[in-house]
């Protein structure tokens, strides 16, 4: 045991100091977002806070859909009080006047003993519990404080996960681009300053834990491609995947890419037995545990049947419409397809969302800035293309590994579109948001790092520095935008 601890300590000591600095930048940036964003203005935050509160107060998982005349279902007293002052103005302005603020605090004090209700996790009730279980730590630490203090404590705790996302991105780049330490820093800092990452991690939302878990999946997978797949590397991938799955179900979209990766690793390795055992160690416990959890917890939520005729996807039979919808959520519509989207999702939802759509996905930069961002991204893509062309022999040797990263991204995007199709059909409300693709955010870090390398040996670090400064600008202007949106 002591030998193991000593080895872990030695490995930690061997990690570059730059990695810790990048991770710290990610945490501090997300903590700034935690303070800047008004309470409950992170998507679905009232529901996520309700989930944490229920678990922290009762020690049980929340449930909904149960009619108990003695125990009405819905938000807790505190949650309702805050909700009445804040989320009904979800597209308006938060509390602006000191008198209104005092009234809110009075109401919260009056309701402070009413902390747990069935159904208070609202639309988050069906989520897996890991993120919420961890969030009970700050909640319990400041248990005696006011409701808004507890929400802030939870937000600051959540900001730590942004640091882990950056840290695993750094480690991933260290595997992917050996020998170019400055490029790891470029990619990791670009991720640390990504405004939507800071915004989401600075709020109470299970996405915050799904992002570092998925970044860890990419890192451990990259390690497996270099060190070989065995029980140890496989178990590490499985553990990261389990954390992701038990945080946010959408992470399930990574599984097709993982299966492809394991197939490649098993086929390429000789002997194949350790690799096959590694794949089994990665997938079997995770999938079995998650399936068991899903089956056992299904009773917690009794969902209402969808209202008929609320709108949604159009054309042909259900399967054709769904396929058409999934296709158009990522690619241009083909001539024989019905129009499923009023806009082009890759641009409106994913690109603009990535540059900065904030709040409940309802405010962002002035439209001209997205075109400026597109120009910058065109330059980044051109540089990255140049880097890959110049290193085409290396790229060819890594082709199977790179194919798995593409498969992970496409799998995730397709699963978001499939969920989006059902959601639109049942509610009439679009589901897709750029943040749902953030489990592969480490690949954005890789793109930035590779783009900097595309500038050549002499100018690479300089272009890397420029990209980091531009990422800082993006973050700063997103924060100023938020100040303007809510406080002017």
């Amino acid at each position: 045991m002591r030998a193991l601890t000593g080895r872990a300590r030695a490995q930690l000591a061997g990690l570059p100091r730059a990695m810790w600095v990048c991770a710290a930048v990610g945490v501090v940036n997300a903590a700034c977002w935690a303070v800047i964003t008004p309470t409950f203005w992170v998507p679905d935050e009232p529901a996520h806070v309700g989930y944490v509160q229920y678990v922290a107060e009762t020690g049980k998982l929340p449930r909904s859909g149960f009619v108990d005349p003695d125990r009405p279902e819905g938000p807790s007293g505190e949650q309702s009080a805050a909700y009445n002052f804040l989320p009904f103005r979800v597209t308006g302005k938060p509390v602006w006047e000191p008198a209104e603020d005092r009234a809110l605090r009075r109401e919260l004090r009056r309701e402070q003993s009413n902390r747990a209700n069935d159904g208070q996790a609202l639309n988050a009730t069906s989520n897996p519990p890991l993120y919420y279980a961890l969030e009970t730590i700050p909640y319990r630490i400041v248990h005696g404080a006011g409701y808004l203090d507890r929400v802030l404590a939870m937000r600051l705790f959540s900001a730590l996960f942004a640091g882990f996302t950056v840290l695993f991105t750094y480690l991933f780049l260290r595997q992917l681009l050996p020998g170019t330490q400055w490029a790891w820093t470029t990619g990791a800092l670009a991720v640390a300053f990504q405004p939507v990452l800071g915004f989401m991690s600075g709020g109470v939302n299970a996405d915050a834990l799904a992002y570092p878990a998925a970044a860890a999946v990419l890192w451990t997978l990259a390690r497996a491609f270099r060190q070989g797949l065995n029980i140890r590397t496989g178990a590490a991938i499985g553990a990261a995947m389990a954390v992701g799955l038990f945080s946010k179900p959408i992470v399930i979209g990574l599984i097709p890419g993982l299966v492809l990766a394991f197939a490649i690793l098993v086929i390429r390795q000789s002997p194949r037995r350790p690799a096959a055992l590694g794949a089994a160690a990665a997938l079997a416990p995770t999938v079995v545990t998650y399936a068991a959890y899903t089956a056992l917890s299904a009773h917690r939520v009794t969902l209402q049947p969808p209202a008929p005729g609320v709108g949604g996807p159009v054309g042909g039979d259900a399967l054709t419409a769904e396929i058409s919808y999934v296709w158009q959520s990522l690619l241009p519509r083909l001539p024989f397809m019905n129009d499923q989207f009023a806009t082009y999702p890759l641009w409106e939802v994913y690109f603009k969302g990535f540059i900065g759509r904030l709040g409940w996905n309802e405010y962002g930069f002035a439209s001209g800035w997205y075109w400026v961002a597109l120009l910058i991204f065109a330059g980044i893509l051109a540089l990255a293309g140049r880097a890959l062309w110049e290193r085409r022999a290396t790229v060819w040797s890594l082709r199977w590994e790179l194919a798995t990263y593409v498969a992970l991204t496409v799998g995730l995007a397709i699963s978001v579109a499939i969920v989006g199709y059902g959601y639109l059909r049942d509610t009439g409300i679009p589901f897709e948001q750029a943040r749902y693709l953030f489990p592969v955010l480490a690949l954005y870090g890789a793109l930035m790092a590779v783009a900097a390398m595309g500038a050549g040996r002499r100018w690479g670090p300089a272009v890397g520095a420029l990209l980091v400064v531009l990422a800082m600008g993006q973050s700063l202007f997103a924060q100023l935008l938020t100040l303007g949106r809510f406080y002017t």
């Binding site: 730059a18 600095v21 930048v25 501090v28 940036n29 700034c32 303070v35 800047i36 008004p38 309470t39 002052f85 009904f88 103005r89 597209t91 308006g92 302005k93 938060p94 509390v95 602006w96 006047e97 000191p98 008198a99 209104e100 603020d101 809110l104 006011g146 808004l148 203090d149 929400v151 802030l152 330490q181 400055w182 820093t185 470029t186 800092l189 640390a192 300053f193 309802e362 002499r458 100018w459 670090p461 300089a462 272009v463 890397g464 520095a465 420029l466 980091v468 400064v469 531009l470 800082m472 600008g473 700063l476 202007f477 924060q479 100023l480 100040l483 303007g484 809510f486 406080y487 002017t488």
Partner: protein
């Protein structure tokens, strides 16, 4: 190598600083308050011809102008807006007509010197055509039935009497920043956050600089 990195970071920083200065120097209308609950309302509130419609209003101190949002209605108006507190007239504003669908801003005379809670805001339609104004609380997505009556108020935004550079709003932003949040925060928090953002930027540039020379 380090010189090139410094040059690139400096150029990037200069570009950001330039945009920042331009953005912060822009003249804006300083909002003092709003009764808006939604950004865009799905409900139209009509002030019938030759009639008056009143609603409750909280008007912040320093308010010198009022904005309503109206549909295009050529020939409608004028609309007189009267602000009363305890049955005493405090200020009034006048909008002569509604030739296009847009926001209409009018000067409240005299400007409101003290905050008014629970005041009464009346819209007097002095013309012979109805005036359709935007509501303040019902999102379009929730307006599914045209027959259903959605109780609503006229959306009113309040502004200071004159425009100001965006940077001039900073004290107001700092004051509002801490409201509706943890009691541990105060107006000072915004300045601390800005300082932290600058420190983090400095640390990051230093790290990039160091790594380039490694």
């Amino acid at each position: 190598m380090r010189r090139r990195v410094a040059l690139a970071a400096g150029l990037g920083g200069l570009a950001i600083l330039t945009v920042l200065v331009v953005v912060l120097a822009q003249q804006v209308e300083p909002r003092t308050g709003t009764n808006a609950i939604v950004s865009v309302s799905g409900v139209q509130v009509t002030v019938p011809a030759s009639r008056t419609r009143c609603q409750r209003a909280d008007v912040p101190a320093g308010t010198g102008r009022i904005t309503v949002f109206a549909s295009k209605r050529p020939g409608a108006g004028p609309l007189t807006i009267v602000l009363r507190s305890r049955a005493r007239e405090i200020a009034r504003a006048r909008i002569p007509g509604f030739p296009a669908e847009r926001a209409y801003m009018a000067a409240l005379r005299p400007a409101v010197s003290d905050e008014l809670r629970g005041a009464r805001l009346c819209f007097e339609n002095d013309g012979s055509r109805n005036i359709p104004l935007a509501g303040d609380r019902t999102e379009p997505i929730h307006v599914s039935s045209p027959d259903h009556d959605f109780p609503d108020d006229v959306r009113t935004d309040f502004f200071k009497a004159g425009s100001s550079a965006r940077i001039g709003l900073a004290p107001d932003v700092a004051r509002r920043f801490a409201l509706g949040k943890s009691a541990a925060l105060g107006p000072w928090t915004m300045w601390v956050v800005l300082a932290v953002v600058l420190v983090v930027a400095g640390v990051s540039v230093r790290l990039v600089f160091r790594e380039a020379g490694a």
